[in-house]
Structures are given as structure tokens and as C-alpha cells.
């Protein structure tokens, strides 16, 4: 049995606009912050994993090392869509579990302020002067906008609408209420890119991006970084009592992709791989969803949050609408979801997201979350999903050391 891995130190930068800082500045701030939080230095790190999705071939890990410490350790530059941060974290966890080292650091960073639509769906389109077949579909012209949408807001809108078709009750107003919750939560998070409370009327009346997602129901493009220092349990036991007390146990670290199912290459199936990851995570951690004190899930759009209540088994199958309407996912409810404000208000600097959500959970488990503390939190779950698809789930437990 590979040994347990713990988070020794973790840090996220303020999310928002950082016009005066470049990617390496932000990543270095998070990395040095995580090391200081852990009470260790780059000298103790045996591995680094780093991600910066928008510049995935630029060797962000080495760039960070050149600023914060070059010790010759292996760097794994990772890219896995919106699961990039979770993948960096898991890469370090796997190295420690494999016995290659007893400490390592994971970093995720992105600069996206003002970026607009992301991915292929955001790139300008034009037809060529001659219809000639190109690509795997033999398309003679642009298909985005002619054969459905390539952009994220509409893709995830359809994900939520499909759930509504299957189970009912998923109205525009319901999705807007989910966004209202997350924006309300964000008012307690000083590191959120946006911490303004919106009324339901403001959310529903805002600019429509892809029905039923209006602008505030979409994740906020912003700048930010997050980093975590991980340690093996045997190494942790040699450190100070204070370090042991503040350390957070990684009870499960799971990464999945979507298994083939009918329709999964037509509309990305973000459900099955999340459900599979959740099952694995609960089994590995030896807990059930009812044991969770808080959940940070991937609300890239309000329509996505709904389906993940179900996929993470926070409610009975098909019961996500009732679960939301019961008030459960509000911070004073029975299963607080996205008390950070979620991606819709905290922001979504892609490669940072899968570490920043772990930071949020750790903050509560350590009892350091200030005004937004979920009292007595002992176990939390952090979930991300990147289209393509990749799903990362980390289950975290308060230290009993």
C-alpha cells in the first residue's frame, strides 16, 4: 500500500486583473506562498508539476524555477484543459506515492482577464473562397454556428438543458438562482475576482450569452495562480507539531476521462466521467457524500453546477433540482457548495482552478476561512472538469495529527 500524501502548504493569489504582473510573477507568488505556508523551501522539493494552459508549450515549470529556485529536480509541465491544475496536483501526489520523493510542489497559473470566449469556439471564423473538404468531417466551410456551437457557454447550456429534458424542472430561473447563490457566497471571499451580490432579476436581465446562461452565469475570465506543497505521511511525521496540525490529508486523488457512450462525441458527456471519479474518490477515501462538510465543484456555467450535484451524488439520481430548491447548497444549508463564490464569481484562471478549489477546502479544514468559515468542517471535496474530457476530484480531510 502506497503511503498517504498530505498537503503541507497551499496558496492562491488574489484572482482578478493583474495588469502589472506576468504569468511567472503570479506563479512565483503562489509557489513562494505555498512554500512559506508549508515552512519549507525549494531545497526540499523533489518534483515540480506546473500548468499554464494558454501557453502549454512554454515550459512554465522551468520558468518558475528560474525565479524561485533551480535545484535540478524533474519538472512535469502538464496541460489537461480545465483539469490542468488538478492534474499537476495529482502528478506530484503520484510521484510521492511511487516513492520517488517525499515532497513536491504543484503550480497552476493563467492570465485570462478580458479574454472573451475560450477555445476553438472563440476563434474568428471565415469561409474560404472555394468549397473544399477539410478535417475529419470533410467540412467545406465553417461548422461553428451552422452545425451547433463550438463555444463553451452554449455547450454547457445544452448540458444543463439535457438534464432538464431528462428529469424536468430545470428552468431559466432555476439556473439563475444557482448563480445568485454563488455570487452571494463570493461577498465573503476577499480573493474572488468579483464579490458583488446580484439579485435574481439582475442575473436574468443581464446580457444573454447562450440561453439559459446570461453573463453572470458564466465563469469569469481572470488572472490568478495557485500552488500546493505536498508531503508523504512518513516525512510529515518528522516535521513540527504545528506543521502536522495544519497539514491536510489527501484522502483521494482521482483523474478520469469519459468512457465511450452513445452521444458522447456529439455533446461532451461531462456526467459519466464525473460520476465515475466520484465513485472512485468516495471508495478510496472510505466515505460517502453524506460525510462531506463542503464541496467546491466546477460551476464553469450555472447550467453545469446543476448536473454536478447529481454526478457527485450529493442528491439522489435525478434529484438535482429538488436538492437546489431545498436550500442545501447554500453556505448555511446541509451541503454547502461553492462557498468561495465558485468559478462564476471567484473566477476561472484555468490552470489555477484545480488547485485554488483545493485551497478553499483546505482553508476551511484548517479553520482559517474567517467570515466564510464552514464551522467544524472535517472533510471536503474539490472537483474540476476540463472538456475533452478530464475530471479531477480530490477529497481532503482535516488533520488528526
Amino acid at each position: 500500500m502506497a503511503e498517504n500524501v498530505w498537503i503541507l502548504g497551499i496558496r492562491m493569489t488574489k484572482f482578478g486583473k493583474h495588469a502589472d504582473k506576468d504569468i511567472v510573477d503570479l506563479a512565483s507568488e503562489a509557489a513562494m506562498g505555498a512554500l512559506a505556508d508549508a515552512g519549507v523551501t525549494m531545497r526540499e522539493m523533489g518534483i515540480m508539476a506546473a500548468g499554464n494552459l494558454m501557453n502549454a508549450s512554454a515550459g512554465i515549470g522551468q520558468q518558475i524555477q528560474k525565479q524561485v529556485g533551480q535545484t535540478g529536480i524533474p519538472v512535469y509541465n502538464v496541460a489537461n484543459a480545465c483539469a490542468t491544475g488538478a492534474t499537476a496536483l495529482r502528478t506530484v501526489i503520484m510521484a510521492i506515492k511511487a516513492g520517488e520523493c517525499d515532497m513536491g510542489i504543484a503550480v497552476g497559473v493563467e492570465k485570462l482577464a478580458g479574454a472573451g470566449l475560450l477555445g476553438g469556439g472563440g476563434q474568428a471564423k471565415s469561409d474560404s473562397k472555394v468549397w473544399s473538404p477539410k478535417g475529419r468531417y470533410g467540412a467545406v466551410a465553417t461548422t461553428d454556428g451552422r452545425i451547433g456551437t463550438d463555444a463553451m457557454p452554449g455547450t454547457f447550456a445544452q448540458v444543463g438543458m439535457e438534464y432538464g429534458h431528462k428529469y424536468g424542472g430545470a428552468t431559466f430561473e432555476l439556473f439563475a438562482k444557482i448563480s445568485e447563490k454563488n455570487h452571494a457566497h463570493s461577498t465573503l471571499n476577499p480573493l474572488a475576482a468579483y464579490s458583488k451580490r446580484f439579485t435574481l432579476e439582475e442575473i436574468m436581465g443581464d446580457m444573454m450569452i447562450a440561453y439559459p446562461n446570461t453573463r453572470p452565469m458564466c465563469s469569469a475570465n481572470c488572472d490568478g495562480a495557485a500552488a500546493a506543497v505536498l508531503v508523504s505521511e512518513s516525512k510529515l511525521r518528522t516535521l513540527s507539531l504545528e506543521q502536522q496540525r495544519r497539514a491536510v490529508k489527501v484522502a483521494a486523488s482521482v483523474l478520469t476521462t469519459d468512457p465511450y457512450e452513445e452521444a458522447c462525441q456529439i455533446l461532451p458527456n461531462v456526467n459519466t466521467l464525473t460520476r465515475n471519479a466520484a465513485k472512485q474518490a468516495y471508495e478510496t477515501a472510505g466515505i460517502g457524500p453524506e460525510d462531506l462538510d463542503l464541496v467546491e465543484l466546477h460551476d464553469c456555467f450555472a447550467t453545469a453546477e446543476l448536473v454536478h450535484y447529481d454526478n457527485l451524488m450529493l442528491c439522489p439520481e435525478g434529484g438535482a433540482v429538488d436538492f437546489f430548491n431545498s436550500g442545501a447548497p447554500w453556505r448555511d444549508g446541509s451541503m454547502p457548495v461553492n462557498v468561495s463564490g465558485g468559478l462564476q464569481s471567484k473566477g476561472h484562471p484555468i490552470a489555477a482552478t484545480g488547485i485554488a478549489n483545493v485551497w478553499e477546502v483546505c482553508h476551511h479544514l484548517r479553520g482559517e476561512a474567517g467570515p466564510r468559515q464552514i464551522e467544524g468542517a472535517k472533510v471536503g471535496l474539490a472537483h474540476v472538469i476540463g472538456l475533452g474530457s478530464a475530471c479531477g476530484i480530490h477529497v481532503l480531510e482535516k488533520s488528526g495529527l
Binding site: 470566449l117 451552422r146 447562450a210 465511450y260
Partner: protein, 136 residues
């Protein structure tokens, strides 16, 4: 240019078959029956490498839709993007000949395949696209 006449019409994608009864075709795995619209290397479901062309039903039910009002430059908005269940095979398409108004659209609505012209290119060839319109 050669002196042979260019075809009068070409489909937007190679899985749209034109003619008197336009329809979509899929590559169906001869081993497990999984259906794909793209050029295949192997089956994502069972890894087999043998496929045959199958016709897809030209009518179906809207399983999901969105009205896109903000898109990349060069993509006209609004348009209605949908997932249509055509007799058990999911198809991605626009809903056409409908108002882009949520009050006029419904999950579960019955739709039929329809084609339209994308215009002609510099050689005079006309490209034909497809979408689904409310079933009459």
C-alpha cells in the same frame, strides 16, 4: 482549373448525403454498432476497425438546445444549437426555420431534417448545409 465542370452542389460535411431525399450517414462499427460521423481510425467503444455506412433517421426529438447570442467573430447570431435524438442516434445540428426565442422552442419537440444553401464559391459550386426544422 480543369475544363471539367465543377459539381453543382457539395454537402457542408461528408456525412450529409444530398439528392432527392437528403439524409445523414454514419460510420457504424460492425462489431458493436457504435455510430460516428467523423473519419475513423478505430471504434472508441470496442476498438474494432471495421465500419459500414448507415443511414440516419431524418426525423427526431430535441433532447437539448441553446440559443447562442454571443459567438466568435464571423459566426452570425442568434442561432439555435441542438442535440437531436434521431431514432437512438444523437445528432448535433442547428434548429432552422424557427424563431430563436425560448418561448417558441421546447425540449422534446419533434423535428425533421432540412437543407439550405450556403451560397456559391468562386467556382460556382453551391454548398448545401442541413439543420432540423419543426416537424410538419
Amino acid at each position: 482549373m480543369t475544363d471539367t465542370a465543377a459539381p453543382v452542389q457539395v454537402p457542408l460535411v461528408d456525412y450529409l448525403v444530398l439528392g432527392d431525399q437528403p439524409h445523414l450517414v454514419a460510420n457504424e462499427c460492425t462489431s458493436c454498432g457504435a455510430r460516428f460521423f467523423d473519419r475513423r481510425n478505430a471504434c472508441a467503444g470496442c476498438f474494432a476497425t471495421s465500419f459500414e455506412k448507415v443511414d440516419i433517421a431524418t426525423s427526431g426529438e430535441v433532447r437539448a438546445f441553446t440559443i447562442v447570442t454571443f459567438a466568435a467573430p464571423g459566426v452570425p447570431v442568434p442561432f439555435v444549437s441542438a442535440i437531436v435524438d434521431c431514432g437512438g442516434t444523437s445528432v448535433r445540428a442547428n434548429l432552422i426555420n424557427v424563431d430563436a426565442d425560448p418561448a417558441k422552442l421546447a425540449l422534446g419537440m419533434q423535428v425533421s431534417l432540412a437543407t439550405y444553401s450556403l451560397g456559391t464559391d468562386d467556382n460556382g459550386t453551391e454548398a448545401i448545409g442541413f439543420g432540423f426544422e419543426p416537424a410538419s
